[in-house]
Symmetry: C2
Subunit: 333 residues, 2 copies
């Protein structure tokens, strides 16, 4: 059958654009035994995928030029030659950005979409949720009464990380890019405070006022000047989970910044660069606990849903201008 797929047309230098993607037609083979035919339903776009567009060695393999972009996708089984799945089942896996695809059954995991939005398996019950869980529980370990700051707080990971810190009894301050996001963080997600970095004259000073005794935990999703402002407010023995650096992903060379190392030294700060796949042994606990908190109403989640397969590149690019509140997903009809 003929399908459409997005391939990497060229590697971006700096900010990626629509022209780095190409929509093309191709033909699927017939199903072999043990394989299934899938139709994507919810497709994830994630900041880490920007790194995969480069050719440099990193923790995730590079996308290849002229080959399909791949990522987390919730899909419906259309046809099955596997005993594991039946037509109509909903599964999650790492699949090509294509209108249909054929996969081996063992690479897929069945999910229950009756109780939760299918997109949640790309967010709070998927990689971003696991990232928030192990980053907060295994690295940051906030305790009752500590002050936790989260950058990129209104994103797919930040919203969960902040709520987990709240559940641990911490006071949580989110940093986000608009007043609307800040309002949501406080009203919808229970953050104690939220700061709009785009409206701030001095994030460092505003944080100092909000955190007179210093910041104990910093969950960093963005890097750059925002991180500099938080680091200046760290208390002794603070912990930093270095989870994302979205402000830097489109730089063609490292940015010049004021050094933070002397401050990390004199404050005895621990920083852990952190890739969720390092913690795969923790995923079953994370999934169970996040599901429980979600069912109990202790965790809330939200998605920004872009409709239409053709809008995948645009949705992805929107991550870098903060177009999403919560998880950005593309829904395919």
């Amino acid at each position: 059958m003929e399908i459409s797929q997005f391939v990497l047309a060229s590697r971006p230098l700096g900010i990626p654009s629509i022209s780095n993607f190409r929509l093309e037609k191709t033909v699927l083979n017939d199903l072999n035994d043990g394989e299934v035919l899938l139709k994507p339903w919810y497709i994830s776009v994630d900041p880490y995928m920007r790194g995969r567009m480069n050719s440099v060695k990193s923790y995730a393999a590079s996308f290849e030029v002229d080959k399909p972009i791949k990522g987390a996708i919730v899909a419906r089984i259309i046809e099955s030659k596997s005993n594991s799945f039946s037509s109509g089942d909903i599964v999650v896996g790492t699949l090509p950005w294509a209108t249909y695809s054929i996969e081996k059954a063992e690479t897929l995991r069945k999910v229950d979409t009756e109780k939760v939005s299918p997109g949640f398996y790309l967010g709070i019950l998927g990689m971003p949720g696991f990232t928030a869980y192990v980053g907060m529980m295994d690295i940051c370990k906030p305790v009752k009464g500590e002050t936790v700051v989260i950058s990129g707080a209104a994103g797919a990971v930040g919203i969960v990380a902040g709520q987990i810190a709240k559940i641990q009894g911490a006071r949580v301050i989110g940093i986000a890019g608009s007043d609307e996001k800040c309002r949501s963080l406080k009203e919808q997600f229970g953050f104690n405070e939220a700061l709009n970095y785009n409206a701030s004259k001095s994030l460092r000073k505003e944080l100092a006022i909000l955190c007179p005794e210093g910041v104990n935990v910093y969950f960093d999703n963005v890097g750059g000047e925002i991180t500099g402002a938080v680091v200046a407010n760290l208390d002794f023995h603070a912990r930093i989970a270095l989870c994302g650096q979205i402000s830097q992903y489109n730089n063609s060379k490292p940015a010049l910044e004021y050094t933070i190392l002397p401050h990390l030294l004199t404050r005895s700060v621990m920083l852990q660069g952190f890739i969720v796949s390092n913690y795969s042994h923790r995923f079953s606990e994370a999934l169970a606990q996040l599901t429980k908190w979600l069912n109990e109403g202790k965790l809330k989640y939200t998605e920004t849903i872009v409709e239409g397969f053709d809008n995948l590149p645009e949705a992805f690019l929107g991550l870098f201008s903060g177009k999403n509140l919560g998880k950005m997903v593309v829904k395919v009809n």
Copy 2:
């Protein structure tokens, strides 16, 4: 009795100078019960004391203007009104930079100077040695076959840290500021390789050639561009003990540098800012193990000895231009 002492005359802005110190006369009180009269013999000058000349909040209390500079000193008991010490005993303690001083006996620890140089209690068997021990054993934890890089390798801490890593079976590369220091590191202290950053066109590239599989452990004493060059070569799951930042101590504001955080993120690096006093529960083990290695000939140590009490400020200032090989101490006759 009349004594001489160095007081902090003024706080330096940027590079300190002789004029920040003032030698003045003062008079000691009579001895009370439980006190001893001390004559300093070996006086420690240490990079961390630069931070104490500032007024900013840090892990060590600031020196006060017009009050004596204090630091680690090996001293001889001249007169004792304590049952713990007799005249002639050699002790180590935190004492003023003075020709004589009176201290409470319980603040002092007796040391044996028959087998080791008295100055070693300010170096390998004192704070710098403990720093190297806990930094390497508790934070970096190198294992056999790993590659360890040490900046400020020819300093009081670096020389010990490198040899401890060697004892653990690692391959050790030192970075120092002269060909002479590099030669000593290799010939006298058993480092596998040593790089002179003052003679290097690209430390990053030279390290890349020496470490084709990447750097597993970085023990940082200096910060700045040297640290940038090492970080660019870190392997996945590398550990950084952030022990010193001597290249930055004389900056009146943070230096602009290329950000290292994206690299720490994608390489899953752990960095621990690290003050030896956090690890006081480890000192007895450190002292026992360092003494054992020293006696077995597995650890070697060296000192740069400046003669004469009056030369204390100059010896201290020399730390910032790399005048020392091993521990810088001032010997008083």
